[in-house]
Each structure stands twice: as structure tokens, then as C-alpha cells.
Point group: C2
Chain length 785, copies 2
Amino acid sequence: MTDTSGADTDLALLDAYWRAANYLSVGQIYLLDNPLLQRPLRPEDIKPRLLGHWGTTPGLNLVYAHLNRIIRARDLDVIFIAGPGHGGPAVVANTYLEGTYSELYPHVTPDTDGMRALFRQFSFPGGIPSHAAPETPGSIHEGGELGYSLLHAYGAVYDNPDLIAACVVGDGEAETGALAASWHSNKFINPARDGAVLPILHLNGYKIAGPTVLARLPEDELLQLLAGYGHAPVVVAGDDPATVHRGLAAALDRAFDDIAAIQREARAHGFQRRPRWPMIVLRTPKGWTGPKEVDGHPVEGTFHAHQVPLGGVRSNPAHLAQLEAWMRSYRPDDLFGHEGRLRADLAALAPVGPRRMGANPNANGGLLLRGLDMPDFRDYAVMVDRPGGVDAEATRAAGRFLRDIMARNDRSFRLFGPDETASNRLDAVFEVTDRMSAAEIRPSDEHVATDGRVMEVLSEHLCQGWLEGYLLTGRHGFFSCYEAFIHIIDSMFNQHAKWLKVTRQIPWRASIASLNYLLTSHVWRQDHNGFSHQDPGFLDHVVSKKAEIARVYLPPDANTLLSVVDHCLRSRDYVNVIVAGKQPSPQWLDMEAAERHCAQGLGVWSWASTDLNQEPDAILACAGDVPTLEALAAADLLRRHMPEARIRFVNVVDLMTLQSPSEHPHGLSDRDFDALFTRDRPVIFAFHGYPSLIHRLIYRRSQPSRFHVQGYREEGTTTTPFDMTVLNGIDRFHLAGHVLDHAPRLQPKSGHLRQLLRDRLAEHHAYVRAVGEDMPDVAGWRWGG
Amino acid sequence: MTDTSGADTDLALLDAYWRAANYLSVGQIYLLDNPLLQRPLRPEDIKPRLLGHWGTTPGLNLVYAHLNRIIRARDLDVIFIAGPGHGGPAVVANTYLEGTYSELYPHVTPDTDGMRALFRQFSFPGGIPSHAAPETPGSIHEGGELGYSLLHAYGAVYDNPDLIAACVVGDGEAETGALAASWHSNKFINPARDGAVLPILHLNGYKIAGPTVLARLPEDELLQLLAGYGHAPVVVAGDDPATVHRGLAAALDRAFDDIAAIQREARAHGFQRRPRWPMIVLRTPKGWTGPKEVDGHPVEGTFHAHQVPLGGVRSNPAHLAQLEAWMRSYRPDDLFGHEGRLRADLAALAPVGPRRMGANPNANGGLLLRGLDMPDFRDYAVMVDRPGGVDAEATRAAGRFLRDIMARNDRSFRLFGPDETASNRLDAVFEVTDRMSAAEIRPSDEHVATDGRVMEVLSEHLCQGWLEGYLLTGRHGFFSCYEAFIHIIDSMFNQHAKWLKVTRQIPWRASIASLNYLLTSHVWRQDHNGFSHQDPGFLDHVVSKKAEIARVYLPPDANTLLSVVDHCLRSRDYVNVIVAGKQPSPQWLDMEAAERHCAQGLGVWSWASTDLNQEPDAILACAGDVPTLEALAAADLLRRHMPEARIRFVNVVDLMTLQSPSEHPHGLSDRDFDALFTRDRPVIFAFHGYPSLIHRLIYRRSQPSRFHVQGYREEGTTTTPFDMTVLNGIDRFHLAGHVLDHAPRLQPKSGHLRQLLRDRLAEHHAYVRAVGEDMPDVAGWRWGG
């Protein structure tokens, strides 16, 4: 065991460093001016609006300072993840003390003027947010929506053998679903190949107003819980700084010793069995070193310390005096010279260069990002000699492409998904890798290995959080998910989209790989599961985010899917959502046509159209694989039974082309839009998702009320594939009927066809309920057949 | 200790009952006809599409049969929650065996014809879903989206002292975030007042294709984990039925003894300290008693048993023979008479009447529902002598109303929220109750008690799941949440909305109380938190669900909020979403006007209008408290600086009035809509959420492109309240400018006002960045001031 915890004199220096960080944190919350207290505080030195979270801040400062010590002592590669990231002042203070902040924000100089700027900008209009955020050096984690810290930490260390993610977990966030599940992430770490996560569970006892669950467990029960999670916890507790410094230094030494030993062993002799990873439980008072009482009420150690302990500083002289005493208790004169520079012996405590946690390139992962080594997606083409001439499973084709990407990028690409890789027919990847597991593996398991690169766990939260951490540290990934259940991470998607939106405005943040979703086992083919598994609404959710971030693709067949996957894996800083089915289906486009179609994003399929470049009677439009099939079958019905109808057939792959270019960069110009959709002809639109999404996208286009959109109407159960389309009115018979309803020129002669459509629907209803299958000539319908 | 586990002869009967349930389960998956195998199986007896999940089913059948035994023996009140609810055949089979099914579905008779109907309908077009679902007697839990079983169980037993929820937790679902967090629900149970939950963790080892995390923990680690969760686990493991029967019977006896002892103690002497609640770990093979091998591959005990173990039964004679052998292994002749009736001695094993788990009224909670005893909401009115004449915090007024509802309904109403009751200014409720905690309570805690009725935990999943369980068993509740983070339960909302939609079509399901959300700390007032806390998109999400379920209200002030809350708490079978701010704001309507306005859902505010019942130049519309304030300030600017402008001011409370009546039952008729909004005048609409939502709602109205909607544009940070509106263009200056832009009659004379608007915006930008506060005349603006 390496003892680097040093003598008490070293800990006294460390304590001074901690005091400096605490001082800077309080300053950020309160001060507009007089940063070094070189004169008595006056009301006008105080911000008019006091915003921020003090309660968690001293704990974060403590951990950061101690990590600095051990990084220096052992030359470690460590990033800091502040689970209670609303303690933003702490991360800002520490990156300022270590010098990173001034390097990235040169106007925040390491002197009195800089300190004034540092204080003023915090939670101030035109300044920086109150949380650890994209603006914060060294952060890959926004501390607003709680629960994802451990997931980001684990994602960061996959395939990062030298990296250790020190992750402070707040006892508030520990109550969330995502955090509670993420403790088991240690079953997915291979110490021979991956780095390590050091969880530091910070029990300060309170959330906003109530006690936390974990802080109120009897200690033996808490230790059982953490041991049950697979950890060897060390408890550091107290409210006496010297005692806690000694305890925390020793605990960190031991933890890093244990991590080193685990990794040494696995790297020397190969992975043998899942180790018991170290972790630290840090139990210190909320708002430690802050006011003990305010107006006679206890504050330190209670929930009253959560945000701003002294509220009336500008108007209440007693509060002002108490603030001044509080700040002076950190002895700023002793910490900073009169020019506001940190004492040299304290500055020397921080690591240097990229070892500083604020400057670690893993926390600005775009710096480390290398493009994927990708084979030519055209090599995976399904041969299509004529539209509908062959059947294929789209995701199976994508799986072969992903397999070879996986093989060529075996340290920078992973697949994530809730136990559905095979079910979603991406199982070609198992030719080159396996599911990852560091737990016991049994003979009855298939494709499970300690060095697998497919991350399967029945938690969309874990998949999403790991992938975010992996991307944010400069790697690539792909998340395949049942369409309905991707809603489980709606809010995580929100936060990642917000992160990307903000990073685009920060010059020093380098671009990262896009977050790619493949939504399959989609609404139209839930044969085994029914209504609970039918929900295409994630598209609506994604489209509400900033247009510069969100991309949605609905490839109608395998070759278009391949082209879209290739495009998405090369893109940066987006969220790409791809919806594609896994069932055997007719293929429409050969690879050349597919590539051209995807490049345009949408287009006329002339082989399915009968308008001969004349003004059409109606446009039949579609987006999504099942709607495309039904729309083509409807076009076929019209062609056969009403040859005089002039129908233009339009397929949409890139959904955002529909939106006005003033609203989305992919939006088609009005001129091009009108060339496709005309300005006034009726459009019968068969859509994969909720119809309202199309209405919302096209509302600025010419005569939006001529768009008659059929999509998922929230009707479903366990039934046949074609019956699902009938239940929701996007089947071929309804679609053809809508064309007749809305194309005035066709109406006089439509009686015969209308009767046929009604008869076929009645026939379907009778057949499916009697036989339990779709009618053979419907299920077996093929274009041109 | 009560030993009711009986002799081996009793267990032999129980085994026969289990075999009967297994037989009926296999029959549901496979058979169209020949239900009793009275002749050799033929291909035409087999369903053409084989759909369902066998793997988990025998375990569910086992637990159900054993619960029957103990319910009878002890006359217990138990509901059954099937976490792995995709094992739907099990719950259907058992409710059929106990007689409930035939009572609710009279065509499914307890004889051969009924058994044929039972088999045929399963996962068959026009039949029943493959999961435990609303159609399933005794279920309050859809088994599609995994993770919520324990939460529903806990919600069911709050204030239900005699009820025990036996909850089977699958080892797949145990990996989800919601389930992982929900183990700690036992910190929120008071055995003196509440019922009990008996978790039965069913480790069958596999998910769809991979091993599960919990099944691969070494047993000592698993037991530490469960002890850490606060449970005393008993393990029952094996693959020999006789052994497992004995073990499970004994384990259940012990568990129910322990529950009884805990409750007796707490009810006799009051709650002393959190008990260690019993639980059972049941480790049995996946697909137990099914085919051991198929085509040479092991099936029983592996993931291959997950869905349909024998796939080719119709076309492969060997599979057909194997299915027949499998079904005959249950000895149907021994179980059912030749008329298909369950043997009398087996039928006698089930409980009778409402003690049957399929007939327990708690699982059809509407049967038990009683309306809330509610005071008159008008008694909580804020006195408003003239519009804008007084300031108030809307949620504080609602809090007083909720306080008195809480006091009057102290066994049937609870508040749920993630530690935000006080922060959201509903703290009047703490005058009559407290936060609930069964954990250690310390002197520094405030309003925390073992008999509290405010359920606070920092997990939206837990709040939502508990509330769902509480509502589904016939009680009332209210969920208050930060607006942005309600997205965390988007998918849970989906599933509950789907549940409500289906139950409306099931005659025997009685109506339950609506699920009420109060979204506060909303997008416009995230002063402490910034961008991560700014997301109004839950409204978009809710609106995508069935119109018959979803209701959205945006009361602009305290009195309208009171009226809306009253309305929502009296409603049934809806999801009501209320968005209302908590900050002090001007009040617009006295109670009489508020009530009238809410009853209409929207209306002209004539006191803010200048159109004098003439054709207006423009309509200024608004929905939401902050948009209403800004729209009124814009109207004020126009009135003062352009007195000739004829502006009609419309406020919308019930968002769904905007939608066409063909799409939503609250939709205003086109005639009434046009009377308010005209057919062609420009509408400048200031909206609380994303602008696209309004476009989506009004797209069927006359000339939708004349609606110019300003709302949240996904721009934000930690800044001042007014600056937030400016960042997103819904501030008074931009709104007034849009009126000028779009009202042709006003444009010629608009130069002066345009300049003033530009100047004021510039002034704002300079002021807020210099001072850190909003300009006094903006922040202090009052109508008529």
C-alpha cells in the first residue's frame, strides 16, 4: 500500500486550499464587488438577486482538493463528476484556483479584477449558469436534472484504461431511478480494458427540505446495501475539518491503491472475476463551514443550508455582518495576496497541465475524437433488381454494417441497448464481439463475454447514460431500442440536447460524435406485445428541441437504412433518430437510388407515380417503412382500378425536410417543396407516427389544410400487422379511399372503386377474426405482382 | 408462528392446481381447438401465429397457486401484481380457474367450449392482449413496460391497512431504474396505518437473450443487497416441484406471519421503528416444466424459453408431437373432467368471492371509490377588486385549498412530489399533516412524521408509480412537480393513459379518480437553476395521447387555479395537467369571473380589449401566467401609444378548447372559435410552451397561418424573469411589435411605437447586464397603474 496522505502539515495546506475554494464559492453567490474584502462589506457590494446552492458546495470543494493531492502524488489521469452539480460554485472555484478557468476565459484573470469578474458573472444575466454545465471547464455533466452522474462516469471510462472518474453522488440524486439502477454498472467494467470509477457517496443528509433516504439508513444497513452493489465502502464522517481531512486522505489512498491493484492483476493475468471495487462514503454537514445559525434558526447541517443561507444581506445589516464574518472565517488575507493571487504554496498543490481536472481532455472529449474507420456502406447493399422484387430485414442489413464497424474500431465504438440486439436483428455483431458482462458467465449463455462490446442491460436509463458518457469523452456509439420504450429516457435526451445546444456556443468545446438512436420493433409490428409497446411519440419529443440539434430519419428499406446509418455515424453534435423495422419486407430502391434519395431527403418515386409530370390529382406521400408499403399498395389499387387517376408518389426519409427552412436547416425551400407537393393539390400522407407531427412540420407551407395525414391514432392491441394499419386507418384501402375523397376530378367515377375498398375491408375484418392471420393476397401483396 | 403449509397431500393437490394453470397457459399460446386433447393434436388445432411469453409463466402460476392456499387458510385480503406481466397467460389461467374470468366474461364458460374460447382469444385478432392488462381480472398493472410493479404495489396499500399486495418482481425488470429505486418504498410505509407489500423476487436468470444482473450475483451479495434495502429475504430455490412447493409454502407462511406480527405490534403500541419487512427470493428455471430441449438445443432454464419454445408446430410434425407430449405431461385428464370442468377438489383450493385475487375489489378500484369531501373552493379566493389590483402566489392559494381537502379526507387523499411541496408553495398542507417517513427522524427535520400524508422522495418515478397504485385502488391524489422534470415519467404517463383508454372500453372496470399534475416552478421562473430546468414540453407529450383522456389547463392566476383544481379533483378517468406559477404575480379575475372563465375554458377579457365589439385589427391571445402578464403589458403599450388600435384580448385556460371538436371533446365549435378569433384577423399568441403546440392544435381552424405564436424557443440560462421572456421573444415589447407587424391598418402610423419598443429592449439589455435585475418599471408594471 502506498501512503501518500502526507503529514499533518500537508493537510494544513490542503485545508487552506479548501478554504480558498469555499471563499470563492461564497463570493460567487453573494458579491458584485469588493472580492477580497479589502474594505468592509457594503450593501452595494452584494448582488441584488442571490441565487445558487451553497449546501453541497463545501463537500464538493473538499473532494476536489483531496483529488488534486492524490493526482499530483501519483500522476493520475482523473476526471471529476459532480453529481450534485447544482453546487456549480465549487467546480468553478476549483478550476479557477488551478488556473484552467483563466486559460479558457482570459478575462477572468487570476487577480483581484478576475476574481471580481468571476464573482459577478455567476448566476448573473449574461454570465454563467448556477450549475456545473457545459460552460464549466472539466465538466461532462450538467448538474440540473439529477441521477446520471454514475452513468456518465462509467461511460467515460469504458475503453479508457488509464482514466479514473471520481464521481460524487449526492444523497438526493441517489433516490432517483437512474442512479439507483446505475450502481450495478460495475458488472459491466473489465479492469483489463476499461478504466475505473470511484463513487464518493456524499451524505449531507438533506434534499431541498426533507431528509434523504440513504442518510437515514442505520450505518450497518447502508454498508450492506453498498456491499450488495458490489462495492467495498470506506466511511469518512465528521464535522471537524482536521479529522475529516485525515480520514478522507487515507480513504482516497486506500481506494486508489485498491483500484491500482485490481487493474494490475487483471492486466497481468487477464480478467478472472468481478472485483469488489472501492468506494467512499463521505458524511459531512450540509453547508459545512457556513453560518451555524441565522436569525436564531440552525442552518449548518440542516436543509436550511440548501440554497442561500443568508437571504437579506442587502437590506439587513445583521445579515451583512454575518456574511462578512463568514467570508473572513476563511482568512482570505492568508490565502490570496493583496493582488488577489493564490499563495504560491497553495497554487503548487494543484496538478499541472492536462492533469488538472478542469483541463483533462477527456472532459472535452471532442479533443480526443477520431473519425470511425468505416467500410463502404454500399458493400452491404441488398440487391434490388426492381422495386419490391426482393424481401429483406432492414435492421439485419444494418447489423452487418455495424459488425464491420465494430471490428475495425474495437476501442472506440460500442453498441448499447436493453437486451434487444438479437431481437432487433442486429445479431451479426455477435460474429465479432459479445455482450459485455463482468458477472458470472454460464455455459447456457450465448455471446456473453468479459470483453464484449455490446452493452445490454434492461434499463434504457443505463444505456443512455453510459452512451452519453462514452460520447462526451470522445468516442462513438449506437443505441438500439424498442421504439415505445425510448420514452423512458425522454428527459435524458432533453438534457443531452440542451448540452449540445450550449456547447455549440462555447468556442473551446470541441465537437463530439452524434448520439444515434435506432428505434426498431416499432409501433406497427408489436405482434407479441400489443398496446403497451405501441408509441411513436419520441419523434414528436425530439422535434421540439432546437432544430440545429435534432435529426429524424425514416428509411423505407434496407439500402436507405444503410445510407442513413453511414451518414449519422459521420455526423457531429446532433441527435439522430432513425426509425426502421426489423421484419422481412419488400425492398424498393437499389443502392444507387437509395443513396440519391437519402441525399435529397425526400423525393418522387416516379415508378410508383401516374401523373406523368402533369399536375396530379393527388399526391400520395409517406414516411416510414410500413406506411410506405401501404401507400404503394394504395397506389397500386388506384393504378389498377382507376387508370385515369394522376397520382404522384412522394417518399420522405429525412423528416425535417418538411419543415420550413426558417425553422430547420434541412427544411426544403418553399419552391422545392411546391415543386414536389404542388401548391394546392390534396396530399394524402401516410405517416409512421402521430399525424399531428406532420401538421406541425408543414404548417407554414402552402395551404396546409390540404394535407390529410393518416398515422398512429393510439389504437392497438395484440393483432396482425395489417389489422394494426386498419385499426389506425393507414391501410391501403383507407388510403386509396382518402385519395378518392379529396381529388375532385376522380370523384364522379369513383363509385366502383369505393365499393371495392369497402368490400375488401369487410373481407379483412371477417378473415382476420376467423383465421387469425392476414388475408394471403394482402400479406403477400408485392409491387408489380 | 402459524403453520398452515399443510401436509404433503395438500401440496400434491396444490401441484395439481399448478399443473392445471400451466396447462391452460400453454393452451392459450398454442391452441385454436381441441382444448382438452380429446383427440391427437393436428396442425389445424394450432394457431397460425404463435405469440406470447412462456418463460416467466410457470413461476407466476406457482406463486398464484400458493397465494390461493394461504388466502384461504388465513382469510387474507391479497392482490396479485405480476411484474413480469407479459406472462399474461398465467394471470388469465388463474382467474379462469378460480371462476372470476367466467363471471366477467360469460362467454368464456368453465367447460370445454369456454376453454376453447379462452385459448383462441389469447393474442388473437379481436381477442385479448398477451400481457396482464386492463382486460385481465385482478390486475392493476400492465406488464408491458417493465419496472413499476413494486410502485403499484406500495401505492395500493397506502391507507389500506388490511390489504397485502403480493408483488412478483422479475429479474429483468429489476434492472430498470424505477424498480431499482422502488425497493426503498418500504421507508414510506407505516404498518399501523398502511397495508403491506410482499415482494417476491423471481430469479429465472434470463431476459430476452442475456442473463440478468441479480441472478448472477453471488448469493451472499444478493442477500446483502436485499438486506440493505431493508428486507429480511427468504430464498426458495430449485427445479424439483415437490421441494419448491414445500419451500415456498413455508416461506409464505413465515412471511405472512412476519407481516402480521409487524402490523399487530404497530397497531397495538403505535409505530416504533421501521421494521425489516419480509420478502421472498424465488429461484426457479425459466420456462420450468416446458420442453427441456428443442431440436437438440436446451430450452428449459435458458433464455430460449422466453417466448414460444416450439416455433414450428403447424408445419413440423416433431414439434407438434413435442407440444402434445408437453401438454399431456400436465395430465389434463386428471385435472379436468371430460366436460372441461376443473376437478372439484382442485376448484376448492381457490378462495371464494372477493377473496379471489381476480375478484378483489382493490384491483378494480373504482368499485371502492368515494368522492372527496371538498370545501367550497370559492372560500379560498384571493380578493381582486380590479384586474391587476393585487399580487398573490397562485400555488399558495391552492395549497390552502389542498390543506383542507387533506384534513377532510385523511384516509383517501395524498400529495406526491419530489421534495418540492414547500418549494412549490403548497406548504399550507403542513398545517394539517407532514411528510411521511418511516425512517429515522431527527430534531432538525421539519414536518416529517411517521403518519404524514405528503409523499416526498427525490424520484418522479416513485411519486408517479405510488400515485398510480393509489388511484387504481380507488383513492385520490395530486402530484406537484417541477415542470421540466415531469418528463422523467413521460413513459409512465403513456402507460397510465393507455390503461385509462382501454378501461373505458371494459364494462366491468369502474371509473377511477383522475391523475392530476400540478406543474409549477415552470420554465419562465427558474431563477436559481437555468437551462436544465426549462422545459415546457410535457404538454406536447400529453396532447399526443387520446383526446378522451388528456386535459391541459393553464390558469393565469390564483382564482382560476382554484377553480381548475376543484374541477380536476372531481373528474374521473382523465389525466389533468395544470401549469401554474408559484411566484408573486398580479391577479386578474375575481372569483366569480374566474369561475365563469374556467367554465368556458377561454374567453375575451373585455377590460383589456380595445375593439369595442368591432372587427379587431388583431387578437392578442395568451395561455399561461407569464404569457398573460406579458400580453397584458403589450396591450397596455398599444392602448397608451396607439389608441386607435382595436385589439381583442383573449385568454385561454383550457388548452383543448383550441382544438377542433372533431379531435377533442372540449374543442370549441368553429362558429364559437370564429366568434372569438374571427376568420381572418391576425392572432398574436403568447404561449407558455413550445409554439408548435398551438399550431398543431389550431391547424383545422380558419386560416391557421394568421396565428403568430410566441413561446419557449429553447433559449435560457440563469437570468432574470423578464430577460427570459425577452430571450424567447414573448416579452411585451416583442408582442406589441408583432401586432404592428401583422395588422395592416396599424402599420402606417406605427413608426413611433416601433422606435419606442426598440429603445425599451435596448434599455432592458443594458440595464439587466449592468444591474442584474429587471428594470423597475418593467418588474413593477401593473395593469392600470
